[in-house]
């Protein structure tokens, strides 16, 4: 059945090509010889020729209206994404460039001083922090009550903290484990360790008489608390009072080294990288729409 249908289709193909004059001379001769002997095949050819003639003779359908073009019709209206493609690409390039500049700048700024020898410095400062924090409560137990703990107001302390930029000798002394005079300055328990451990007291065993306190002259060897105490007594704002109880892990000055750089901020780099990636995606989509 399938073979018969295939043979019929093959014959229709030959007849169709014969109508169009598309057979090779050899194929045409063979078909004509067969048509001369086969009446059914001739009838098949005639019905097919008639069908083709009917279609070819179909009248043309006129256009129902004019299809004249107007300027608005032929104006190229590119999609928004396509129109924005150049701008998006430019923005991507700029943000990418900024990202690279910022990244390289950060790496250069970090440099060998941060990546190499200087790296342990902040760590050392952090390592000392617990020790510094511990000194507060310990000393607080020893702190004398009353007048010794009459610390200046908060604002005064703040100003004093900013006024005493170079506490270097003392800081170095702490980092080397040298006993600080602050250890001899006990604080009352109610003062707390961290916030109130600034006021030095007299050496143990020698409680000073009220009103007879002998104030030492501020020297570079004095601890910040000592300097503050002297300053209070002299009526000047204390210089170091806050520096002691606030154990901010400031890297200590490295003898002979460069001053430490501010910590690298990766936020701008990350933000720019994200922006670049987003712009790149939109640029790709816009260019693909072109």
């Amino acid at each position: 059945m399938l073979g018969k249908n295939r043979a019929r289709e093959r014959m229709d193909e030959l007849l169709s090509a014969y109508i169009d004059g598309a057979l090779s001379p050899r194929e045409q001769a063979r078909l004509e010889a067969r048509l001369a002997q086969d009446a059914a095949l001739r009838a098949r050819l005639e019905s097919l020729q008639r069908t083709v003639a009917l279609v070819r003779g179909m009248p043309s359908v006129p256009a129902p209206r004019n299809f004249l073009l107007t300027p608005a019709m032929v104006r190229q209206t590119a999609p928004v994404a396509r129109r924005l493609a150049p701008a998006l690409t430019f923005a991507t390039a700029i943000s990418g460039l900024l990202c690279v500049i910022l990244l390289v700048g950060n790496l250069i700024a970090a440099g060998p001083s941060r990546l190499g020898a200087a790296a342990p410095a902040p760590m050392a400062a952090y390592e000392e922090t617990p020790q510094m924090l511990e000194t507060g409560p310990t000393e607080a137990k020893k702190a004398p009550p009353a007048s010794e703990t009459a610390l200046p107001e908060e604002g005064l302390l703040s100003r004093a903290a900013t006024a005493t930029e170079p506490p270097a000798p003392e800081m170095r002394a702490w980092s080397e484990g040298t006993p600080s005079p602050i250890e001899a300055a006990p604080f009352p328990p109610d003062m707390g360790g961290v916030g109130g451990g600034a006021a030095p007291g007299p050496p143990p065993g020698e409680p000073p008489e009220p009103g007879e306190e002998v104030l030492p002259t501020p020297t570079p060897e004095m601890t910040p608390s000592e300097m503050a105490r002297v300053a209070i007594a002299e009526g000047t704002p204390p210089a170091i009072t806050v520096a002691e109880p606030t154990p901010v892990p400031v890297p200590p000055e490295m003898p002979g080294g460069k001053p430490p750089l501010p910590p690298t901020s990766w936020l701008p780099v990350g933000g720019l990288a994200l922006l670049t990636a987003v712009l790149a995606i939109f640029s790709l989509r816009a260019w693909r729409a072109r």
Partner: protein
Amino acid sequence: MDEQRLIAAAQSGDLDAFNELVLAYQDRVYNLAYRILGDPAAAEDATQETFIAAYRHLSTFRGGSFLSWLMRIVANRCYDELRRHKRRPTVSWESFGEMDEEANPFLVNGHPTPEEAAQQVELARFLQAAIVALPPDQRIVLVLSDVEGMNYQEIAETVRIPVGTVKSRLARARARLRDLLQAQKELLPRAYRLEDED
């Protein structure tokens, strides 16, 4: 009409010159679209889009027959439309007997005698319904060949299929159309009835 001069003017942006070409060829373009799509509204859309596309891509026209170039554009558009939406014709073979004569586009064509006109209208309706009953692949090849008179090579280039495929599709389309006409021969005018060969 000086076609080459109009084409040159249109290529340099003269829309009026192009519109003269539109007026000259819109019937041919619409006719082909209608024969392929079998739907007057869709044929109108395809015709308008064809002229817009032709104007925008006029710089790619490298000479030769401008009409053939237009026909390739409209045939491609119709072919894509058929493939995309599997568009069903508004004039179906099954509804042929009940088709409203007012909707028949052949009513407005030609100036035959009343008797000839009646026969022509009936035959045209019958044929159009039979053509749109063909599968889209066969339909477009049949229309390009037997309505537009393209040869196998031109059809192959237009539809982007091999010449051998054109031949086989055309043969199947003609044979199927013949079978349809024979099956409904009582609906045909007597002068156009096909006799069964078996």
